[in-house]
Amino acid sequence: MIFNIVVGIWITLGLTLGFAMPPAENLVATPLAFLHVPMAFAMEMALFGAAIYGGLWLKRRRPADDAMSVALAETGLIFGLIATITGSLWAKLNWGAYWNWDPQQAGIVATLLSYAALFAVRSAIEDEDKSRDLWAVYGIIAFIAAVFWTFIFRRLMGSLHPEKTTVSSSGIFKIALWFNIFGYTLLIVRVAQLRARIERASLKLKEISWNSSI
């Protein structure tokens, strides 16, 4: 509970900083900047964590690692969706349309779709160990693809998204932005921890009811 309160206070302070609307270089100043960018960063962290925990499952065969991997990917997907929606609202203010088929926009859609496919694959396989193995391997490949789609693709193709906003904007913008990035990363870790605990408790409950039925 204390972790929740710390995270809550942190993102509330972050929102307040965002409401002051410090200017970003080459972009319209709006509080949406302090949701869109931090959530996209937090999504990348979560997907990275999902790949790491997937690797740990392959190595240690502990269901808790698999549960954490799923929880991080799921939370990353939710944050990615919010980042996409807030990003398209900001795109309307910056470039006149909600969707411009910019390489960065196409890249995040490709990333979200590949993780949606990952969840579909997982739910389609009945054998638990096999589904966890496939999840872990595909999760590592999907993260590498996500890095390509969200960091490399836009640099290869040229993008409306300015290159160095996070480093070349005013000092106050950078403070507000990194404050929020840290806050949303804490949030995603907390949400994933809770989702993993739910997954583990559900498994335990299933196991108990199975034992008492035989």
Binding site: I11, L35, L194, I198
Partner: protein, 51 residues
Amino acid sequence: MEQLNLTQNLHAYAVALVTWLGVLIYLFRLEKMTRDLERQVESAACRDDEK
């Protein structure tokens, strides 16, 4: 860069507030769900032991 007009600003503030509130509600509801489920597991385990 150009400044936003009042309506655009209000719209952006409203979206930011709703997202922030939604995220906080989700976090605290998730905490409650987790605790409830873990309590269920504990009581189911106790019942199982008694058997």
